[in-house]
Symmetry: C2
């Protein structure tokens, strides 16, 4: 039994200054966690109890799925991550350090390499497969912007699992088993989720799904359609329109367009000076060319121009996902200064991509850039199909080209999924218009394939004695993040209100007043509940006022509160249901049995919200 | 139930190349752990099961002692460690790193600072004390020489606890509670221990005990006396002999002693040229002066000379403990080259300490050192009491002084406990002659006092509203190290042989041969045992030979092995007791009940070795 008089806890009346979201605010105020450094938290007794319950569910379901638990170090040598390419690919997100002998080490963000090497170390035959291994472990990522408490931390706990198979069918089966385990885990924990198609980012691989918990404070935007399509924004593919006949299109013509460095001003001027006979020009008739700087893992930095319809912006996260493992940022003034051929507001395909390289200039009508570059790499939004006609920059200040036809007058180095996804865009599978929603990523499962096995030489002999590369799956679940989303989903204006199965304890017994009889009764009830296997925190403080005690109980958020106080003389105590908001006055004699029954009923359901 | 056909395990027939000790060798060969980097190990399924059982005992006893579990980050900012001085004091043993913003971080070796700050954060009144907190956590130390597998690692698991009290009496009481908890933990785990007085090293503080597990492979030497004194070698204090009257001692006289740079040659020459009338000179009549280089945490490096009887050597570990947090190493040739007054083999007090400073020279008969130092700091072994007479160096090559009387002819800057401790030396408490033994440190408890509370400003208000500094205790227990010593204590030439309460499982069921009936019976026995709560690993492999299966079972070392094989036709199976080395043939019908009974009996006792 916990006792408030000795429990290592101080609830705070004030919100922490850096807390933007409810879970962060309340977990700190109610004494579950405490900030040690940006994105790095200490766990206090109550927090540790919630964490342990969540870990236990994850462990049980992973074991039930046939996965075997192991535990890798967090501090790892550079070599395996060098071999996989991740030492560089991870960029500044990786905590790197040196030991006393000047050898390179890292704090592992995930353990693909180590699992691969361990299996290589021990196994060599197809008979050893399939194999599934997992660990629950502290991970490290040097996030640029740690935020929202446990939601995006730099030290956090993750369950990561890996499967090893001989064939693609085997991998698909292992993936299905893990996917089912995730669903059982979320269901048992009472965490709502959406499984969305996802890019795999720096992990490599192909089939990939994210489990997002739909909460407003989530930093991941995802899309869903009425027909059941769901994907994170990075993974949405554009529905490509059919090519347009252009045999009768007029030849392109350069026009004076003074002061039209923005799309809006360009559209206005076009409608005024060069009106279109059938309808007004809109932003969708213009081809916007956005200049980005792309930094490769090697550190090499090059400009890239993305051409897209003028009514859309580039979504940097989508661009980053498409260009991964490279990093992406908007081009700087210095970049433009170095590339004189890129005339801001008037950039057009003529200065870009293959057509520019053909004629060996960086930009039509301008000298080559200071650093001697010729053409800049040019990628198009998939909507810019053959035959589409555009108003776009002429690479000269105050001039645009009209009737520039894609495929006839210009080409690019390829296409890229970098334009923003908008509500109303069609789902790629034809299941209707997309809507946008926000969530927190609580799991990520994917079919890695042979990337790591190849890089690190994990093979086995098949039935015929032939060497085969093993194919892998990778499955991550954010354990500390689940604590945060559960707190995010289960609170109100006065505090947390945990579902019984993850609450730090089930019943908070509050004794009020000064009478010894009250404390004797409250202690007796607490002990009787503990005897029945119900977890209790008894507020035995003699000095604290009833108001303080109620506030603490409500803030901490156990699902049931028993109040022993004034009613005792009349033989009654109160049982409050923190989640339902109801209060029942019951006889002292029945209180224990009744509370135990309610706790058991609550434990029987994974209740949410 | 574990099944050998799917258990992630490959036993190795060969010892790992780097394994010097049995526990390391066998834990790797039997598939419990696997080396990831020097001093850094991965835990395989069997190892994790043993670790979990040990952690559970530690947690239960810590909880029972009234300590509350919390969990700190391993990755911590520099500031608190800067404030306590440990950022520097820890020297190269600390893993240091920088984050993406170039801020300094460390991987915590222990968490005194964080516990202190957390309590400061939450508590402010004497009413909140006493308080005891603990965590079970991964720690990091960049050991110069990681060795012996889990015994001295760089990433390891430790239980560290801290107590907080208002008074010295409170601290003593908290210390006694923790000490009792340690004893219960070791007793339950079946780990023999010796509690020895210890220096506190870089931790600061006063009362300090180490728990050593007496095993030959231990790197800690400790002493014990017939009367029950026990201490680690660093903590042994010298029994100081009484002062000697010296009124009739002759005046000191310098003699030619050519070619006597060693004690042996000096004693031989003295006996030949200057024989003592009553008895022969021995090494104990000479005063040896040993030059060390002492590096302060600030990086400042100074020479120090230790004068001690010539029949003893300086013990560098004792010197280091006495001079902590400074580092100590023998002086180098370069040191001697810079200090011309220090004539190797002929150093005497005249060139050292206060008497040399008085006359303002570095060494009598020589110029001051190249760097302009005058006298070098000089400390004496406590046996060099007033009135003792010595043959010692004259600070000139080939010359020694005879009849140099301590207190009359020379003095020093103080005494130091740096001479080696030898078997037969008297115990400081008069409990008889010391003997030397070796052990592994498995726990360290000490009364820190106010060092951290002062450095980090942890105070509370007392009954009178007066601010008081909190006094702390610190209690460490090496969890992964306990796995190692248990393995070290419980093995034989064919493998591990775990006591039941820490074995990865209780019964290893081996099915031999090709007959289906054998596998059906073995599976039935395994299932029946699991139903009774007995943990089973069933070797269900059809391809492996009986020899391979027995070797694996013996190497892995579960306490009981049931063999289902040839005897089955006659209705019998074998129950082998791995620890007792006995085999019983029992009826199939009784096997389950009998094995369960034996497991329960074995679990009832914390058996060792």
């Amino acid at each position: 039994m916990l006792r408030m008089s000795t429990l290592f806890l101080r609830t705070l009346r004030e919100d922490p200054a850096d807390a933007e979201v409810a879970s962060h605010r309340l977990l700190v105020r109610a004494g579950y966690i405490r900030r040690a450094a940006p994105g790095i938290y200490s766990w206090l007794p109550l927090g540790l109890k919630v964490l342990a319950k969540i870990e236990a569910v994850v462990r049980e379901e992973m074991d039930a799925s046939g996965s075997q638990e192991v535990h890798f170090p967090a501090l790892l040598p550079r070599e395996p991550y060098e071999a996989s390419g991740r030492w560089k690919d991870y960029g500044p997100n990786l905590f790197r350090l040196k030991d006393r002998k000047d050898a390179d080490y890292l704090l592992a963000p995930t353990h693909e390499e180590m699992f691969t090497l361990l299996v290589k170390d021990l196994y060599s035959s197809y008979k050893d497969l399939p194999l599934s291994l997992y660990q629950i472990q502290t991970k490290y990522r040097d996030e640029a912007r740690p935020r929202a408490g446990l939601i995006r931390g730099r030290e956090f706990i993750m369950k990561d699992a890996y499967t090893f198979d001989l064939t693609d069918e085997g991998l698909a089966a292992s993936y299905a088993i893990q996917r089912a385990a995730y669903i059982r885990i979320y269901d048992r924990l009472g965490v709502p989720y959406v499984a969305v198609s996802a890019m795999s980012g720096a992990m490599g691989g192909s089939v990939s799904e994210e489990f997002l918990c739909p909460v407003e404070v989530g930093e991941d935007t995802y899309v869903r359609s009425p027909g059941g399509y769901a994907a994170n924004v990075e993974a949405v593919t554009t529905v490509v329109p059919p090519a347009v006949p252009f045999a009768d299109a007029p030849a392109p013509h350069v026009e004076d367009t003074p002061g039209t460095a923005t799309i809006d001003s360009l559209v206005a001027l076009a409608n005024e000076r060069h009106p279109r006979p059938d309808r007004a020009w809109t932003a969708a008739d213009t081809l916007k060319n956005v200049v980005l700087a792309v930094t490769e893992p090697t550190g090499e930095r090059n400009l890239l121009v993305i051409g897209l319809p003028g009514d859309r912006d580039v979504d940097l996260k989508r661009a980053e996902a498409a260009l991964s493992p490279a990093g992406v940022e908007p081009a700087t003034d210095a970049d433009f200064a170095r590339h004189k051929g890129l005339v801001p507001g008037y950039i057009g395909p003529g200065a870009l991509g293959p057509q520019a390289r053909e004629v060996g200039v960086e930009a039509a009508g301008a000298d080559a850039g200071a650093d001697g570059d010729t053409a800049v790499r040019y990628l198009l939004d998939p909507r810019v199909v053959e035959g589409t006609r555009w108003i776009t920059g002429a690479n000269v200040k105050d001039k645009h080209v009209f009737d520039l036809v894609a495929g006839r007058d210009f080409s690019a180095d390829g296409t890229i999924e970098a334009a923003e996804v908008r509500a109303g865009d069609p789902a790629p599978d034809g299941s209707g218009p997309l809507e946008l929603a926000r969530g927190v990523e609580i799991g990520h499962i994917f079919q890695l394939g042979t990337k790591y096995a190849k890089a690190l030489g994990l093979g086995v002999l098949d039935e015929n004695g032939k060497a085969r590369v093993v194919t892998m799956g990778s499955y991550g679940l954010g354990v500390t993040r689940v604590v945060a989303v559960l707190a995010e989903l289960n609170n109100d204006e006065i505090g947390l209100r945990w579902p019984a199965h993850v609450a730090p304890y089930h019943v908070h017994v509050v004794a009020t007043g000064k009478e010894d009889a009250v404390y004797v009764a409250a202690e007796g009830i607490s002990e009787a509940l503990e005897t029945l296997g119900i977890e209790v925190c008894y507020d035995d403080r003699r000095q604290a006022s009833p108001g303080v005690k109620f506030k603490d109980a409500e803030l901490i958020g156990a699902p049931f509160i028993i109040v022993v106080g004034k009613g005792l003389e009349a033989g009654t105590v109160e049982i409050r249901d923190r989640r339902a908001g109801t209060t029942d006055e019951v006889g002292v004699a029945e209180a224990v049995a009744l509370a135990a029954e309610r706790v058991r009923a609550a434990l029987g359901q994974a209740a949410v919200g």
